[in-house]
């Protein structure tokens, strides 16, 4: 499942390879019909119901052998993964939105926009918490403790750079996580959120450099496709901003 996923900024040559595989005629007809496609997903999502041999996969919010907090496995892992990133984004923007000198630092218009983005991210965070609480009670990731390099909130430059880093990371994470999601409903939600994150990313990028909304480090020049990152790659970066050690080894892995 790790086909062609590359960290942001990695060699574009990978993207020059064809991004499609021939659709075999037979599969066209085998899966002719959206219902068939959806059925396949439903089926994949529930195979554990009848499989007596279950690998010992960690549950969400459990502590692993090395003391990390596991995000869990299967779709719960994906939801906790998104929840962790949204916690981080929401915390960052809430701190920006609370700056008493925010308007002078960023400009009144931009500061107002950051306050709106702060609400979006808080809503995303709370939405995932609500979804997890409802569908996987007992596996909800704990509240994380974000941490930031000194001076992060001191200048427009560092605030915009951090915002860009978080938005780019978030978009790449959703892009890479989509294929790990088994439950179609969750994929719908991820799709509804990723485009809002992409809009944030484009807005922030245009603030830093007008016209960089979809620059080549965001949309691969060779393919016209947005960058995607694996959970491992994303967490490697996100971990710099999170006090607790997270483990995403079983995200999307089903028993």
């Amino acid at each position: 499942m790790s086909d062609n996923l590359q960290p942001r900024g990695s060699d574009d040559a990978t993207f020059a390879q064809p991004l499609y595989t021939p659709i075999k005629r037979r599969s066209f007809f085998m899966y002719a019909g959206a219902t068939a496609g959806a059925s396949a997903l439903v089926l994949a999502g529930c195979s554990k119901d009848s499989d007596p041999v279950k690998p010992n996969l960690p549950t969400g919010n459990s502590t692993t052998a090395d003391g990390s907090i596991s995000l869990g496995s299967g779709d719960v892992g994906v939801l906790n993964y998104a929840y962790a990133l949204e916690q981080l984004e929401a915390d960052f923007y809430s701190k920006v939105a609370a700056l008493s000198n925010g308007a002078s630092l960023l400009g009144a218009t931009e500061f107002a926009y950051f306050q709106q983005v702060a609400k979006h991210e808080a809503i995303h965070r709370d939405f995932f918490k609500a979804a997890l609480t409802r569908d996987a009670a007992g596996q909800v990731l704990r509240n994380l403790t974000p941490k930031y390099p000194a001076g992060t909130f001191d200048s427009k430059t560092t605030i915009l750079a951090t915002a860009k880093a978080f938005e780019d990371l978030g978009v790449a994470a959703y892009n890479g996580a989509g294929k790990l999601i088994k439950t179609p409903a969750y994929l719908v939600i991820a799709g509804q959120i990723v485009s809002v994150e992409a809009r944030h990313a484009a807005y922030i990028r245009d603030l830093i450099t007008p016209g960089s909304f979809a620059a080549d480090d965001q949309v691969a020049a060779a393919s016209g496709l947005d960058m995607a990152m694996t959970p491992k790659e994303v967490l490697n970066t996100a971990q710099n901003f999170i006090t607790e050690k997270l483990s995403g080894d079983s995200i999307g892995v089903n028993a």
Partner: protein, 283 residues
């Protein structure tokens, strides 16, 4: 905003509890129950879509051909787009052209008959001179061009979000389509920012506070396809029963549930039928 209703479907879907044998018997029904979540948020009738993967690829190719043709013609009019923004739209056009190539190749590889290239008409007259003009000046006046570009990009992000489910059988195409959702959203956000910088009341994301784009009634389906339902907070968890969205989130410290932010925080899908009706305005 049909979010919590989706979770309700998940909770109630027979797949969650039924043993496998029963599941096979129920598969058709379960799949139908799951389908409207992806496709029918705006139109319940779309739950009975007959979309196939071939339909999905064909419609996405049509979309990308249309948008590519739009930007190609806009860039050909050298007095339309300010010089500072020409590279932006060249970049956007390059992405759309790459997407055309992606779906063209996919259709060719599948042995499908390649759809003929439509003769696009961005006036909305559908190539009939006597028809009323629905989209005046979109290739001669920059603000009118931007307004249509915004709607086409919003529609694009939505349509990909809906159609990914119909091409999930092909991992590479599926992954590509998932990432194009974000590409189209980035295009849209940029066009919206350009419009805002020219004095239009519009955010970088669809918002209830956006100024409506005035169109004749016959063109209204485009607005419906691009942003219809974005401001709707009411969600039905089952027919006639609304999800108490506000109270559900408010218990989680969210104190601004009546804020437009709740609607802004989630982009919406579009049904393939509504999208097709909008696309059909242009050829």
């Amino acid at each position: 905003m049909k979010l919590m209703s989706i979770l309700d479907h998940v909770a109630s879907a027979p797949a969650a509890a039924a043993p496998r044998r029963a599941l096979f018997q129920q598969l058709g029904r379960a799949a139908v129950a799951a389908l409207p979540l992806g496709l029918g948020a705006a139109l319940p009738a779309a739950a009975e879509t007959k979309d196939t993967s071939l339909d999905a690829l064909t419609q996405l190719l049509l979309l990308e051909r249309l948008v590519s043709a739009f930007y190609t013609r806009a860039l050909a009019n050298t007095s339309l787009i300010p010089a500072a923004q020409v590279p932006d739209f060249q970049r956007i056009l390059r992405h759309q052209t790459q997407h055309v190539a992606l779906f063209t190749q996919a259709l060719q590889d599948s042995g499908a008959i390649m759809p003929a290239m439509p003769t696009f008409d961005f006036s909305g007259q559908r190539n009939v001179p006597g028809n009323p003009v629905l989209f005046p000046n979109v290739l001669t006046a920059y603000d009118d061009f931007l307004a249509l570009a915004q709607q086409l990009e919003d529609l694009s992000a939505r349509l990909y979000r809906s159609q990914v489910f119909n091409i999930s059988y092909d991992p590479k195409l599926y992954k590509a389509a998932l990432s194009i959702v974000a590409v189209e959203a980035e295009h849209s956000a940029h066009v919206r920012t350009l419009r805002r910088n020219r004095g239009v009341a519009v955010k970088s994301w669809p918002s209830a506070t956006d100024a409506a784009i005035a169109r004749p009634a016959a063109a209204q389906v485009l607005a419906t396809a691009a942003t219809g339902g974005e401001d709707n907070l009411a969600q039905e968890q089952q027919a006639g029963v609304l999800v108490p969205f506000a109270s559900l989130l408010s218990v989680l410290r969210l104190t601004f549930v009546s804020d437009p932010s709740v609607a802004e925080a989630f982009d919406e899908p579009v049904s393939t039928a509504v999208a097709q009706a909008a696309l059909s305005l242009f050829y």
